[in-house]
Subunit: 617 residues, 2 copies
Amino acid sequence: MPTIAQLDHLATLSRVVRHHILKATTHAGSGHPTSSLSAVELMVGLLFGGFFRYDVDRPDHPNNDRLLFSKGHASPLFYALWLAAGKVSPQEMLTYRKFGSPLEGHPTRRFPYTEAATGSLGQGLAIGLGIAMSARYLANLPYRTYVLLGDSEMAEGSQWEAIEAAAFRRLDNLVAILDVNRLGQRGETMHGWDLEAFGRRFAAFGWETILVDGHDLAQIMAAYAQALTVEGRPVAIIARTVKGKGVAEVEDLEGQHGKPLDDAACARAMASLGAFDLDARGVIAKPADREPARPRVMAEVVPPQYEPGKPVATRTAYGKALARLYPRHPEMVVLDGEVSNSTMAEIFREAYPERFFEMYIAEQNLVGAAQGLATRGHLPFLSSFAAFLTRAHDQIRMSQYSGANLKIVGSHAGVAIGEDGPSQMGLEDLAMFRAMLDSVVLYPADAWATEALVEAAARHRGLVYLRTTRSATPLLYGPDDTFAIGGSKVHPESAQPATVTVVAAGVTLFEAFAAREQLQDDGIAVRIIDLYSVKPIDESSLRQAAAETDAIFTVEDHYPEGGLGEAVRTAVGDAAPVITLAVRRRPCSGTPAELMAYEEISSEAIAARIREFVLAR
Amino acid sequence: MPTIAQLDHLATLSRVVRHHILKATTHAGSGHPTSSLSAVELMVGLLFGGFFRYDVDRPDHPNNDRLLFSKGHASPLFYALWLAAGKVSPQEMLTYRKFGSPLEGHPTRRFPYTEAATGSLGQGLAIGLGIAMSARYLANLPYRTYVLLGDSEMAEGSQWEAIEAAAFRRLDNLVAILDVNRLGQRGETMHGWDLEAFGRRFAAFGWETILVDGHDLAQIMAAYAQALTVEGRPVAIIARTVKGKGVAEVEDLEGQHGKPLDDAACARAMASLGAFDLDARGVIAKPADREPARPRVMAEVVPPQYEPGKPVATRTAYGKALARLYPRHPEMVVLDGEVSNSTMAEIFREAYPERFFEMYIAEQNLVGAAQGLATRGHLPFLSSFAAFLTRAHDQIRMSQYSGANLKIVGSHAGVAIGEDGPSQMGLEDLAMFRAMLDSVVLYPADAWATEALVEAAARHRGLVYLRTTRSATPLLYGPDDTFAIGGSKVHPESAQPATVTVVAAGVTLFEAFAAREQLQDDGIAVRIIDLYSVKPIDESSLRQAAAETDAIFTVEDHYPEGGLGEAVRTAVGDAAPVITLAVRRRPCSGTPAELMAYEEISSEAIAARIREFVLAR
């Protein structure tokens, strides 16, 4: 039971926090004060009530509890809490939303206490899940992860993916705090103040639920104390709150979302907080001091082995590479979305089951949890069909603002998968991943290249996407070939100088080689570039080809926009004509060969287009 | 109560269906027989038990009940059902998965009884929700919508978005049938045969639940009969089934997902079905014959009105255009993801509340429901922040395989939104929508262009994306300007011939005009092209500019990949150098002007780059 003095102190801190929320948002002229005010007591009670354990001078302390604001627009509250902890000055608080300030409109990792950039709703819980998984399964540490949720964002399906996964894994080190302030951006949510509606849903999914008045510090303290005692299931504290709480003019009013008070209203609101010690600061309890479990470093890594002349699918090489490389990258973890026997991540699972996480068919949660694991220093590789990664586009987009160290692998790329038809064909994945800041996009053609590029991905810090192929492809390379991010493999013409260059990657590279054969009788020599690194791109080899040959033909098993063709065109500029062969018709079921022909990305189509070009000159 | 003769007949039809599932998949050498076999009785009972009402000769009959296979990989069952209804011949059944056949690996609209292409899991229920909304709110028809769900796909959050929305809207004309066959692709689901686990979840969300043995036709018939009596809530029939049911060698076995039997095993399995009339066919009950409610056609459409000299945000013009145009497009419906006061769809809502659907913060469901509405002949416009549309990338991707007539509007594009920071900035939306088959991508700069392009979108059949801007922009055009899909507006230089061309759209167009002013003193004349139609693109005007000026500068408030710059480069080829100004640094909070300058897409940055180019010549 908290003492009256303790409750008084927390009440004072709540006023300090409210004061700075109001001041900062009015000063900025934008931001979300009302959404911040509803959760003040919930967060002050957590941080300064003795529950949250965190070394404020060491955000990287492995035993720190973790706090995520899934409702990232409550950033004024987030920053004001750290002000109340003495780690943000009142002056710095006034830089909120200013250019160059770490106190951005929605939290990003520029602010050292942010675990993950949020602001696209419904994403924080999945990241928290990943962090809780790290504590439970990998680091073996007793810290807890707390995630502040908004009631509006409970409509996002991603929440229920994370809720399901956390209950399935019985993660009692994960606590969600649901701020039910009744009002969304443009009006009431579906459930208003019906706490039971939320409670029933959480409970049905297997969570422990605690319903509280979110402005009653004694109730809040009791809820956190109870949460600490729950075993075998995650806990949701579901709180009835008032949007704009503490500012009579806007409390529980529609039309007040994302609106700061004007100067006069702000002054009135600050005055109404009454007399209190504005310099009061709170103390956050210190964490335990346990060493995280370290994965054991094992034997030397053996080199890859492939039988010459025997085709291997790059997806198989992906699985083999993971299992082979793990001893050199013991921080590695592998996640998959219930298709590990297709992506071949199962090869790793079979070798290191304790480092593999089955995330079922929930791609948003797959990416979110992987990001949470990355946050805690692990090296996550995650996989699904390339097509289904579009499901997590928003999570991948947001991860770039956290600088997350994610390795994402999409299998079953393109029409080359054949009979399953368009729903299963990744045809926009290159465009999606290229349009991410500082992303690396790799597309190996054979097993040797895949092995090398999986290793390059593991060594690279940041977002890497690797595209794999369903069917077995011949071995093109050998153990002595090297592959670097940003590189390419130039397969030069034999005797005579090449007339044209064909740039291909993955499955179309083999079509390019076959086309070259077909063109021999026509006396047309062809240079082939294996563009296994689509981003960054080997501008130098491409520009050389543009200078030395008459045209560049790009061939990709992908829609024409945003893929290989546009990447090459951007790299060579106006130095040579670039002719793009890509998937331009609505794909359908059929054999891979039929579909490659139908889409005019087969060897015959390539040869025909080149002949046409040469004749027309 | 069904008679014994009726149950016998249904049992016979179940054998007919099983026979053809086995035969077709073995003949194709791929496909998902085991996932089809588990739902045979559930579907035979529905279609031929007198519950499903459908004029098999008129798939477009407005009173037809609707059936969606959300578990699209059970397509062999889907096709075999229509064979049992006499609408697919045994010969045609053997074209399953063959190139050119309407019987694709996963159902597409090439098969006339498919309501929507499925195969990416967790999408059918949202589309069914949209169809049920059409029946309830718009057409006022008594038909029901049935959606077959797989247990694996219940991990997808999109399911819970649709489940929540259907319960919120009390849609008792929507029935989900959950085929709990325990096994996913690579092993058991989280809940195995725990029907109660699913039941608790559905019930907590407000659905009526009925648990049955999914191979007991009498129980199944009773369940459908009960479902017809439920009022005020949607119904979930949750069925315990056996994957591979009827084929002893594979029943309930792991490792049998997506695997056809070999010829010998198929022969054994078909023999084990016993003696029955392979020519038996079922009768589907006829639907009612009511006329759908027709929206009343109203007064003439008035022309847009904007006060000269007064800036207007294009998002505002979007809302006004919808409200203005509705009388000419009475099939129009408008949906929004809880941000209608930001996207300004609220202008339409205020004018025609009965045609507006609030879909809350659930973008996957927003797109799915809109597609369902489009399926029934409505003209849906849906909106959210451009950034948050990435959440529905997979749904948008799948909609292209249904040829869905969707109009999608993304507001708050680019760094120009300012202080809210990167989580809210749409910076990859052009890339995402360009990489969709036959998509139209529009990006108007002012209110007049927006009005015209919203009308063009309404008239166009197919996917249209329109990007709007947060802040008010000056009026550039007037009532006499026309804007066509595939067009552009060339703003020619004044006296002297232009040295360079600047291609811009939306907010950067105004920067281009300001840059032109700044370059006057340098004696550099500039042609400006307003590329309001990013796809299809006005190749002719761009090629003319490439021929007549020394270089093309593209300026976009978007990442460089897949956006305006690459679109222009693809259009002009090597006819001129194309220099792309785009968002290349990690964005942050700040004023729009600060951020445009920081990203070097401001007028000063444009002018500087052009000066540099001219000097270097």
